[in-house]
Symmetry: C2
Subunit: 328 residues, 2 copies
């Protein structure tokens, strides 16, 4: 296993300590339980997310103005625990309540549910399940939550900054989730540090279409293919799910899974944008980069979000986090 680590046991804390030091203007790292909170406090609905580590910059990289107020990192590919979520809520609640944004994995759902029940502060939860690749998977019942989560966090984060109440924030998160669809593809597996061996094995000339962000199986193995035919397959599944009307404006996110260089992500973006415009859709907003990774997996995912005037304005609103920043 060739990784930049000291020991598998210290990997998470070494990485989080680096993150917290590099972004000390934005976040505070709390220990026992492990929580990252936003440095600048504001009286508004608090947004909290979390999940297994290994998907960086998700979620800690999205703490800051216009997005999250706290993140709860679990061990690699392992749900955080209810005490982390409770501590996070108590640290960032300003009286307006707490919205938990949870990717649809059984462990995360169960632990966030437990935390929600134990919390005395008012709270609500939204489950993100944007991955159209498969129904039910290794770690979950129903569709998985993947890179579309970033779009939910951005849009609901902007709404929360306007002073919207908890129920309106929850409804907006549900609304965005209903207009999101994603699908990924792997060229090479990742290696979980504690395991030390690849999560799955792909022959040198095969790819996994519909892979999950923990290396869960997708729809099928396929021989290596051209970028445009891979994009066509991902977009086909995404559009079959979203069924957008012609002429609708979309946000196109091309997300790297960790080991794919940005030049290839822009190449995928180019193919995806051309194919969408050929189908009469207009890519009016875009995001290209590593936003929801799977350790050092080589691969990428495509996410579409159907926009409206309201969603576009919330997407464009200022954001200041470690991984996403504009307008401030």
């Amino acid at each position: 296993m060739k990784k930049f680590i000291n020991t598998p046991a210290t990997y998470l804390m070494d990485s989080l300590n680096g993150f917290a030091a590099a972004h000390a203007d934005l976040v505070t790292l709390h220990l026992e339980p492990l929580v990252l909170t936003r440095r600048e406090r504001q009286s508004k609905v608090a947004l909290i997310s979390g999940g297994g580590s290994g998907h960086e910059p998700l979620h800690a990289g999205f703490i800051g103005h216009g997005m999250l107020d706290a993140a709860c990192p679990g061990q690699v590919f392992t749900s955080p625990t209810p005490d982390q979520m409770i501590a996070a809520a108590e640290l960032v609640d300003t009286g307006a309540g707490v919205l938990f944004i949870v990717k649809n994995y059984s462990g995360d759902k169960m632990n966030f549910e437990m935390a929600a029940e134990m919390l005395s502060t008012s709270n609500a939860t939204v489950i993100i399940n944007d991955d159209v690749a498969v129904e039910n998977s290794s770690f979950t019942t129903g569709r998985r939550g993947v890179a579309g989560t970033v779009i939910v966090e951005k849009i609901v984060g902007a709404l929360a900054e306007t002073g919207a109440n908890l129920e309106d924030c929850r409804l907006m998160a549900e609304h965005v989730n209903s207009r999101l669809a994603s699908m990924g593809v792997a060229l090479k597996s990742c290696i979980v540090p504690a395991a030390g061996t690849p999560t799955f094995n792909l022959p040198d000339d095969e790819i996994e279409i519909g892979v999950g962000i923990h290396g869960e199986p997708g729809r099928r193995r396929s021989p290596m293919a051209s970028a445009s035919s891979i994009v066509a397959e991902l977009l086909g599944a995404i559009l079959a799910d979203l069924k957008p009307e012609a002429g609708v404006e979309v946000l196109l996110l091309v997300n790297g899974l960790g080991a794919t260089p940005v030049s290839e992500l822009y190449l995928l973006f180019n193919d995806a944008r051309c194919q969408l415009e050929q189908r009469g859709l207009r890519v009016s907003r875009s995001l290209v980069g590593n936003y929801t990774t799977a350790l050092e997996m080589a691969g990428a995912s495509i996410t579409l979000c159907l926009l409206s005037k309201e969603l576009t304005a919330l997407w464009d609103a200022p954001v200041h986090t470690a991984a996403l920043r504009w307008g401030v």
Copy 2:
């Protein structure tokens, strides 16, 4: 070869078309010759860089307010041609002259020199050679120019926005270059699309200390080691070159070479920061991410820049580019 490409021959244009479409608010892509220019024009010294492709987001990702006015992308790992540089200069010169920022590779130097001689507009050139790994290399005489180039482009870009003249911009670029040192390490080779096979072969348990951003050999092959011992070796070489006085403030850049996830880069940052502070240096500014890559090479580099009040203020000045953005 598993890459997201259509054909090796179309790789560069497909990727650049995606980049230009995703950042149409910032850049304009010109064909024949291939040049990217900044959309928003301003009367000031124009900064132009360029070099072989495969190092994205360098250089096109740094076009915009507070950094570059144009970039000339060559084919992968191949210098751009003088006609690109001349076209770039003619497109962005506003009468205040043009500064060429050139990484120290023989092909780039020769072609930028030729362009400079043929240009009627006033111009100057600075050669960046921050890589302390080796003297002389596969593609160059003297030290290579690597990730420190981003710091030169940022600081001189900020100075140019203040209305500084060409000679002052050139002197500042030389000054920053003299206070920069970098060294990299590879865990895995990249594959040049047109070649289709790895540039070099590393056994499963070995790393290349001091690797260049085209896969040039470094100082030595070493068995895989802990992150902190790798960091110690890179910092040792960097500090032996810079010989900073105790108490000096530094900018610490941990740069990914393409296939290393940001969680590992933050882990390297954590080790580097702790080791620097133990030596009495203060990391007052930092940057962690993929800024100067080598296609899909797994690996990272560390760059230190010795700061001063003036350099810190220029580093902090607003910047709005595809890959670096703050304050606007």
